[in-house]
């Protein structure tokens, strides 16, 4: 029986059976059509791998003085050394690691908060909706960087504090997005159908409604990811983020505040700047392509 089925499948000429293909297949096929996104995925993959493998790849300890200070790139120090003689390439690898960690964790936290609040607001409506959405508006209307700076000043700056702070300010967009989707979904017949079938609330919220909003959440989360990496950089640049000696892409840029560094020692700020740009652009391209690929009404 099983063998038969496989035979039948093989008989069909490849590429003609679009109806039978699974959703994930379709997403993958449509994603590949975006060449920029495919390249971005590779670039991001290389950066992530390098970051993850930094202890293996890095030629020196990131926080140890390895050679003469402020040396231009050479064979021994590929990206030169900083003002106190640490190897820039090793620091860059570890910094990327920290920045990605901040980005991913902050995005995860804000997605969880946003999804939960959005679900509650959208599904229950009424007073709960009112309170949650007004609170969301409030958080959204704060001058963002100021809020983060104040929070960073109150809670001592540090890796996990930065993650928490960014996580707790990035959620309003997701909450709004989810709420809007839930408003539509709660009126659909399949949600009513599960109500009629006496399904528990937990099932309706998390097994009927949530899976139907995953695609837009995923797309939005990519932009939150890019944003929180940028925010970490900005915060660290201002000295309120990840604290030295731990390297992050932002506090590596910190050195560029001095005019000598900016004009005479480009190897100190150009590489981390480029890595930030690459990561953010790659994530944005991927998000764009995902939006197209995940859209069930996108055709073909």
């Amino acid at each position: 029986m099983k063998k038969n089925r496989i035979d039948e499948k093989n008989k069909k000429p490849p590429g003609t059976d679009l109806a039978g293909e699974s959703y994930l297949h379709m997403v993958f096929r449509r994603f590949r059509r975006h060449h920029l996104a495919a390249v971005s995925l590779i670039v991001l993959g290389v950066i992530v791998c390098a970051a993850l493998l930094s202890p293996v790849i890095a030629p020196y300890e990131p926080n140890e003085i390895a050679g003469p200070f402020a040396q231009a790139p050479s064979r021994d120090f590929w990206l030169g050394t900083d003002q106190i003689g640490r190897d820039m390439f090793s620091r860059l690898l570890y910094a990327t690691r920290i920045s990605l960690l901040v980005g991913v964790m902050a995005t995860a936290i804000s997605t969880v908060i946003g999804v939960l609040l959005g679900l509650v607001a959208g599904y229950f409506g009424g007073l709960a909706d009112m309170i949650i959405m007004r609170f969301t508006d409030m958080v959204m209307s704060f001058p963002y960087i100021l809020l983060v700076l104040v929070a960073a000043a109150i809670f001592r700056p540090g890796l996990w504090n930065i993650i928490l702070i960014l996580g707790f300010v990035d959620w309003p967009g997701i909450a709004r997005l989810v709420r809007g989707n839930v408003l539509g979904l709660r009126e659909t017949n399949f949600v009513k159908g599960s109500l009629v079938a006496g399904m528990p609330l937990r099932h309706i919220l998390f097994s009927e409604i949530l899976p139907n909003t995953v695609a837009p959440i995923l797309v939005y989360a990519t932009s939150v990811l890019a944003l929180s990496i940028l925010d970490e950089a900005a915060l660290s640049f201002l000295g309120q983020g990840v604290q030295p000696p731990t390297a992050s892409l932002g506090n590596m840029l910190n050195g560029a505040q001095s005019l000598t560094v900016l004009t005479k020692q480009p190897w100190l700020w150009l590489p981390p700047g480029l890595v930030i740009v690459c990561i953010v652009i790659a994530i944005n391209f991927i998000g764009d392509a995902l939006r197209d690929a995940l859209d069930p009404n996108g055709g073909r």
Binding site: G20, F190, G193, V196, A197, S207
Partner: protein
């Protein structure tokens, strides 16, 4: 024997930007074990709102403002959500008119039926699956085993409605509310689905409330018929009686709109002039009066349900007077 479902004085109102509107106005009816009760009427006269009120599914702005709904002796309207969840799906269930949107597009139908079985029974996943296959076979799904793995969008409308029915029947409900179950389907599939519902209902001695605007369906299925107009029941009776002897002018007009195979070639189908008034809760007298050819002065007063014997009753003072004098209006 007490009735399985007893609706007393049910009144449902929607509050919107322009005030409160009573869409279902003091409705009384009952359903007995094993009986099929049809609710007929045009669009916008409160049929679906009646069923949603019974199921406790009124959306935002809608609320039952008066009356009671007793199901198996217990008042549904005073139940908490948890108590409702125990009854809904288990003893009381509903299928919707649009099978295209009634299934979650992201899960296989097998998955969805299994979930709904497991919500109400202690069966293991494997047993629930077997039961689901069994149910799909019962509703005439070809290759039930294979169909379990299919997503809703790969099924035709008729097959989706069968899947919906399988899901609705997963826990042997006592009462099934079918809200225009075949409106979205073409005629042959419609006949199949109605035949299926009828057969399943007989096998299980299940009661059914069939909401439709298709008089032909009513004639086939119904034991008793409720004709709704503008939020009120304007005529009720046993199906045979009501079709043979419609009392209310609206019922008559409704029956006149149906083509018959015995019609002569030049018979024109009669449409009912006008449409259901939009803000019908403001009308003091007969709500059909504006469209009624038999209107008299007596129609301006509130209309009661006048009994015509054999369980038949109509909300028409003209019909009632004519009946006393042995004539029909």
């Amino acid at each position: 024997m007490p009735h399985l479902l007893e609706v007393h004085n049910l009144t449902t109102a929607f509050t919107g930007d322009y005030g409160t509107h009573t869409t279902v106005d003091h409705i009384d009816f009952y359903v007995d074990q094993g009986e099929v009760v049809c609710i007929v009427g045009e669009s916008g006269c409160g049929k679906s709102v009646t069923s949603l009120s019974i199921m406790g599914l009124l959306g935002r702005g809608g609320a039952v403002t008066d009356g009671s709904v007793f199901f198996a002796g217990k008042n549904i309207l005073s139940m908490t959500e948890q108590e409702l969840d125990r009854i809904r799906g288990n003893e009381l269930t509903m299928i919707f008119q649009d099978p295209l949107t009634s299934l979650n597009p992201l899960f296989t139908i097998g998955n969805q039926i299994t979930e709904s079985i497991r919500a109400h029974t202690d069966l293991t996943r494997k047993e629930a699956k077997e039961r689901a296959v069994d149910l799909l076979a019962q509703v005439g799904m070809p290759e039930a085993q294979e169909a379990m793995k299919k997503y809703p969008h790969t099924l035709s409308g008729g097959m989706r409605q069968r899947a919906m029915i399988a899901m609705a029947l997963s826990c042997d409900p006592k009462l099934l509310i079918a809200d225009e179950p075949t409106t979205a389907l073409d005629v042959t599939i419609q006949a199949q689905i109605m035949g299926l519902l009828n057969q399943l209902r007989r096998e299980r001695n299940m009661s059914m409330i069939l909401i439709t605007h298709d008089i032909g369906l009513v004639a086939n299925m119904a034991d008793r018929v409720l004709v709704m107009y503008a939020g009120q029941i304007i005529e009720e009776g046993n199906a045979d009686e009501l079709f043979a002897n419609p009392r209310h002018p609206y019922t008559k007009a409704l029956l006149n709109t149906v083509p018959s195979i015995r019609d002569s070639a030049d018979r024109k189908l009669q449409a009912i002039p006008g449409m259901v008034p939009e803000r019908y809760d403001d009308i003091a007298g007969c709500r059909f009066a504006d469209r009624c050819p038999h209107r008299t002065g007596a129609c301006d007063g509130p209309q009661l349900l006048y009994s015509f014997g054999k369980g038949q009753a109509a909300r028409c003072v003209v019909a009632a007077n004519g009946h006393d004098r042995g004539e029909t209006p």
